[in-house]
Symmetry: D2
Subunit: 282 residues, 4 copies
Amino acid sequence: MKKIKSVAIVVKPHAPNLREVLSELIGFLEGRHIDCLLEEAAAEKLERGDGFRREDLPSRADLIVVLGGDGTLLSIARAAARAGAPVMGVNMGHLGFLTEVPVGEMTLALEAVLSGNESIVSPRWLLEAKLGDKVFHCLNDVVINKSALARMVQMRIWVDGLEVAVPRADGLIVATPTGSTAYSLSAGGPILQPHIPAFIIAPICPHTLTFRPMVVSSSSGIRVQLLTGEEEVYLTLDGQRGVTMEKGDEVEVRRSGLELQLISSPRRNYFRLLKEKLGWGE
Amino acid sequence: MKKIKSVAIVVKPHAPNLREVLSELIGFLEGRHIDCLLEEAAAEKLERGDGFRREDLPSRADLIVVLGGDGTLLSIARAAARAGAPVMGVNMGHLGFLTEVPVGEMTLALEAVLSGNESIVSPRWLLEAKLGDKVFHCLNDVVINKSALARMVQMRIWVDGLEVAVPRADGLIVATPTGSTAYSLSAGGPILQPHIPAFIIAPICPHTLTFRPMVVSSSSGIRVQLLTGEEEVYLTLDGQRGVTMEKGDEVEVRRSGLELQLISSPRRNYFRLLKEKLGWGE
Amino acid sequence: MKKIKSVAIVVKPHAPNLREVLSELIGFLEGRHIDCLLEEAAAEKLERGDGFRREDLPSRADLIVVLGGDGTLLSIARAAARAGAPVMGVNMGHLGFLTEVPVGEMTLALEAVLSGNESIVSPRWLLEAKLGDKVFHCLNDVVINKSALARMVQMRIWVDGLEVAVPRADGLIVATPTGSTAYSLSAGGPILQPHIPAFIIAPICPHTLTFRPMVVSSSSGIRVQLLTGEEEVYLTLDGQRGVTMEKGDEVEVRRSGLELQLISSPRRNYFRLLKEKLGWGE
Amino acid sequence: MKKIKSVAIVVKPHAPNLREVLSELIGFLEGRHIDCLLEEAAAEKLERGDGFRREDLPSRADLIVVLGGDGTLLSIARAAARAGAPVMGVNMGHLGFLTEVPVGEMTLALEAVLSGNESIVSPRWLLEAKLGDKVFHCLNDVVINKSALARMVQMRIWVDGLEVAVPRADGLIVATPTGSTAYSLSAGGPILQPHIPAFIIAPICPHTLTFRPMVVSSSSGIRVQLLTGEEEVYLTLDGQRGVTMEKGDEVEVRRSGLELQLISSPRRNYFRLLKEKLGWGE
C-alpha cells in the first residue's frame, strides 16, 4: 500500500452525528499531518469552504473514507477502482457488507491502514456490462427488472455463446461474489466468498420452476437478450442507475479489469460479518 | 345451474384463429337456439353489428365464454362473479390455470355445461382489498410492489390485529388459493387446492431470511402498512390494475362475498392441470 | 372446560431444575386442593411413592401438565387427545411450539386454566395414518424417509384417488398445521395457522425440481405408495416411532377424529411465538 | 492424450442390452487393434474367460469405458483419477451427468477420443475428506447425514479456521462443482460450472432459517465437527460408502490432488445437458 498523504472523505449528507464523526476523523488525520479533502456536503457541514463534487473524486487522494451506508460506498466504487485508491467504509448506522467498520472502530482501522497492514485490504473485482454502446462497471450486480405494473419478461441467456435458458421471470440478476450478499441473496442466490472467480446468475421470481441460481466462471462472457417488448423493462447497475431496455436489446456481462481495494474491519472476518448482519447459521 | 338461454362471448382481440373459433362457438350455440352476445372485438371480427363493451358485461347472459388467456378471464372475473353467471375459459394458445379448456374440447365442455353437469363448476372465492376509500375484488392476488428503480420497501403486517412481521422486501403478495399457481408460486409460495379457506402471504425477494410464505385463515383480516416513503410503490390487483401507495398507507384484505363459478375442463382434474402446466412432480 | 380436580404431571426425567419446578407446581395445585398424579420419574424425584407409567396416563386426570420439551408433549399427545383432557406444556429450557409456557409463567397460565378461561385453549386436530393394519394418530406429521446410506426413494401420491405426482426424493412429509413449524418447515414448507383445515404435503430434498410443497384440504384422503424397494425406508410418526416400509406398501393419511386441547400461553399469541422461536420477519 | 492401445471396460451387470452394447464396443475397438480388458461381469457375459475385479482396475488401460449409470462411474472414479486414464461414461438407460454419452453416440465419441480430440476431455477435480486416520477421495460430495429415525444433528463448521456456523439440520453436504447437479441440487444448492475452483456447503433440511447454501474457495480447508451424540450419524462418500460418526468427530475437507479426465459427449455441452436432464430454464 502506498504511503497515505491525503484522504478524500465522502459522506451521506443526512447521516446522524455526521458532524461529530467528521470532526473526529479529520482531527485524527490532521494530527498525523495527513491532508483531508472533503466532499461538498462535508465541507458545508464543517464550514470549511468548497468541497469536491462526488463525481469528481480527487485523483490525488491516497485513501477514500466513506461515512455512510453501502449505497454511499457503491456510488463511488467505480471511480475509486479506477483511481486505484483503497476505500474504507465507516457505517453511520447499521453494519454494512461494504461499510463494515463501525464508528467506534474507525481510528483503530485507520491506524491499521496507515501502518501499511495489507491484510485488511480485500480486493473486489468489478463486472462490466455493455448495453449497445453504453458500458457500465458494477461492484455488486447488474439487474434486468420489469416495472411494478408489468407482467413478466422473457429473456434468452447465453454463456460463452452457448444457450443456457430462456426463462420467464420478473427479472434476472448477474452478481459478483461481492454482490452475493445483496439483491441476489433476496432472490435465493447462494453466498460466495468475495474472491471466488465466478458470477452468480439468479432469476427473480421465475415462472419456470426449473431455473435456479447458477454459478459460472468469471472468465465467461454472459449475454442476455430481452425477448419481450410491450412492458417497461430496466437495466439497473448496482441498484443505483437505471436505463430502459427495448425488445431485442442485449446486455453483455464480463469481468471488468477494475478492482476495488476495500478496507475490511480489523475486528471481524467475512463469516463473522455474515453472522452479525444476517444471523447466519445460528 | 340455471338453464342457459344466452351466452356472452368475450375475446382476446388478436388471438390466433379467433374468427374460426368464434364461428364454431356461435354455430354450436345458435344451433341449440341459444342467443349469442358478442363483445365489440368479436362482433367486429364477424361483422355482426355492435358488440358490448367489456366493462358492460350484459346482465342477461346465463354463461360467459372467454376466448383468450388467463389475463382475458381475469379482466371480467369480478363482473362475472357479481352477475352470478358461470365463466368458461377457452384458451387460444397455452393451457391456462383459469382457461383450462382447449379449443378442441370446447364443444365437449359446452355440452357438459348445457346438460346441467354441476360437477364441472369449480367455485372460486375472491378477496376484497381496501386502500383508503377504494375497494377492489380480486380472484388471484393483491400485490404491493416497488418500482424497478427503487430499493426495497418495508411493511408492517397484522393478521386479526396481531402483528406478524415487519419485513423489508421487494414487495408482498396476498393470494387466494386460485392465485397460488400465479405470481405467488414464482415468489416461492405453496400450491393450495382451490377450495381451501385460506390466504397465502408471500414476500417478494425478502431481505429478511426469516420470513417465508405463510397460510392464514380466509376468515382473517390482513392489514399491511407501508413504512417506507421515498420510493414509488404500487398496489396491483390481479396483475391488471395498479394504484400508487404512499408512506403510511394501509391495505386491508379479507375474503370477499363474491364467488366466481369457474367451469373446469371435463377432461382434466386439478392435479393433471398442474402436471400439464408445470410438469408437476415428474 | 371441566372443573379441574386432578392433574397428571408428565416430566422429561433429566430436565434441569426439575425438582424445584415440580415442587412449585405441586405446591400450587395442592394449595388449591387439586390432586396431583405423578409420572414415575416425577414420583421418584420427590420420593412420593409409585407414579404412573407414561403409557398409562390416568384417565381421571382433568388436566395434563408436561414439564419438558415438545418431544415430551408429543409422546402423550395421542393419549391426551383420546382422554379429552387439556394439556399444558411448560418448557424447561428453550421455548417450544407445543410447550410455549415458560417456567416463570407456569402459575399465571394455571390460574387462567383453573378459572375456566377458554380463550387459552387451542384445539389441534390430529392426523390418522394407516399402513397395512396398523393405525397411527399424529399431532405433527407422518414422514416417509430413506435411511442415511440409501439413495433416494420414489413414491406415487394420490389425493382423493387422483394422482398428484410420482416424485423421487429423500422422503415425503404429510403435516398438520401444528406440524408446519416442525420438520415441514426445514423441508421448505409454509407455515399454517393451527386451525386451518388443511394438510401440507412437502417433499424432502426432491430430485425433481418441479415438485414443491402443496396444501390440500383436511377432508381429503392422501395415499402414498412406495415404488422403490432395495433401500431401507421408514415411516416415522411425530418423529418418535418408526416402522419399516417395503416396496409397494401404501400409507393412507386422513384427518383423525381426535383433537388435542392444547393450552397456549396467556402471554404470547401465535405470531409472537413465531418471532420468539424463529426470529420471524425481523 | 496418450495413444490408446488398451481399453478397460467396466459394466453395470444387469443393464439392459449389455451383451449387444459390449459386442459393438469390442468389435469397434478390436477392429482398430485396440486391446479390450473386461471386468468380470462383462467377461462372463461374453464367455471370454476371467475378467478383472472392479477394485483392481488394470493399470495398463489407456482409457476406461463405463457401460452403466452415474453410480457405476462413481465407483471407479477414484481409481481412474489415480491411474490418470480418461473415463468415458456410456449410459445404458437415462442420460447421466457423468455418463453423458448415449449408446447411439458411443462410436462417434470413441472416434473423437481415438483421434486425440482434447476438447471433449473435461477435467474434474476431486475432494479429499479426512475422518480420523481415514482419507477418502470423492468426485461429487461428502455428506454428513442422520439416520431416518434420528432427530436432527448439530454441527460446527469452520473454513480456514474461521467459524462459519453452528447449524442444526438433518445433515450437511460439501460438494465439488461436479457434485452440484447431484445431491446438493436436491438440498437447494446452486449449480456450478464444472471447472469453478469452489466448494458448495449446503445444509440438508436446516432447522435454522438463516443458513443457506454457500460457495467457498477450493483452496480453503473446511472442517465440520459433530456436536450431537445420541443419534446415529453417517459420513457418506459419493453416496456410495458410509462410515459412522461419533460425537466430537471432525471431518476435514479440501481439494484433492486427484483429477478425473472425464470424456464428455461431443454432441452436447454442459448447458444442453442441464436442459436434457432437468428441463433447465424452459
